[in-house]
């Protein structure tokens, strides 16, 4: 609700050679605080998005795509290493990269969401 002191002012306005009196109400500056609802938005996956998951726990050796890249089905998007096993992570879907949740050197757990395609 706005609260303030309402002041009335009368103005003379000339329109097409004729004068008109116009009453205008002025409102003092009002400080209003708008509190936005803050919600931490993380790894938002909308319906229709495809998420590339970690098949095993391990360390990210390489990320081969950037946000915005178009990815083909079967394209290698990252390499994860565990127990001296280099795992080539291929996309099971075609789409555009909308989020990358990993970087080189990160440790990931099995089924972690690595890359999101839209």
């Amino acid at each position: 609700m706005l609260e303030g002191l309402v002041k009335m002012k009368i103005y003379k306005i000339k329109v097409n050679g004729k004068y008109y009196e116009v009453e205008v109400s002025a409102v003092d500056e009002v400080v209003a605080e708008i509190k936005a609802e803050t919600k931490k938005v993380e790894n938002v996956v909308s319906q229709g998005d495809n998420v590339i998951l970690a098949p095993i726990a391990g360390k990210v050796l390489e990320v081969k795509v950037n946000v915005g890249d178009m990815v083909k089905k079967g394209q290698t998007v990252a390499i994860i290493e565990a127990m001296k096993l280099e795992n080539e992570i291929q996309s099971a879907f075609a789409g555009q990269v909308s989020a990358i949740n990993i970087k080189k050197g990160d440790d990931v757990k099995n089924k972690d969401e690595l890359i999101v395609l839209k």
Partner: protein, 237 residues
């Protein structure tokens, strides 16, 4: 079991990675020469032509794929068993799967996998030094070969067949949940050694307790016992 051989190829692992759809479980691919032989993290694996055994095995069986940690060390152990049958002594497994003889490296193994949400195939690349006499001096760990250890040349074709048979036999045992641990722990190269390990991106001097029954490595770091997975550490002795 299917066998493929190339005179020259870039890398037997790369061949299987690109063609695994077309081949069955336990396809073996060997080559006289690899032009881009690969070690861990793209380190080159070089070998003189027709002197050594270079091959990769394709694993597509779901049960075996899920046991990749076991397969990794069993692969090294299988090579060790064959080398023992050929008369080599002082053999050991440097966790997670390299084979050493007299503190020198004789066999290296690199596992690769292709995954689409889950692992579709596992490719085990193996290099065993057989008849090569001289090695470049650039290695930090001294390499050796069967020839250098026994002072005689080995029939490479027969050796290959012995290795393939041993792997197929032992992989069958893995499939049947046979427990190799009591055998493997006898050959633990790193046991009681102090090594520098990169633990959570920090280089620390750790004391190795030994290979655990789940094939992780037990170490003491800053008075605490931790179990390491190979993906989370890198070594320097």
């Amino acid at each position: 079991m299917k066998l493929i051989h190339f005179d020259v190829i870039d890398s037997t692992n790369a061949f299987l990675k690109g063609n695994y759809h077309n081949y069955q479980n336990l396809t073996f691919v060997s080559a006289d020469e690899q032009t881009a032989g690969k070690g861990r993290e793209n380190k080159r694996w070089s070998s003189e032509k027709k002197k050594n055994l270079l091959f990769s095995v394709l694993v597509k069986d779901r049960k075996l794929i899920e046991k990749y940690k076991t397969l990794s060390i069993i692969c090294g152990y299988s090579i060790l068993e064959v080398l023992k049958e050929y008369g080599l002594n002082n053999l050991s497994i440097k966790w997670p799967n390299d084979v050493y003889v007299d503190n020198k490296k004789i066999c290296g193994i690199l596992l690769e996998a292709v995954s689409k949400q889950e692992m579709e195939c596992l490719i085990i690349g193996v290099g065993v030094n057989v008849n090569q006499k001289k090695f470049k001096e650039e290695y930090t760990i001294l390499p050796t070969s069967i020839r250098n250890q026994l002072n005689r040349c080995i029939n490479l074709k027969k050796f290959k067949s012995d290795i393939y048979s041993k792997l197929v036999y032992n992989f069958k045992l893995v499939e049947q949940d046979y427990d190799f641990y009591s055998q493997i722990k006898k050959y633990d190269y790193l046991k009681n050694k102090e090594v520098f390990a990169l633990v959570s991106n920090e280089k620390k001097l750790v004391k190795v307790l030994g290979i655990n029954s789940d094939y992780s490595l037990g170490v003491i770091a800053e008075n605490k016992k931790i179990d390491l997975e190979a993906g989370q550490i890198s070594f320097s002795l």
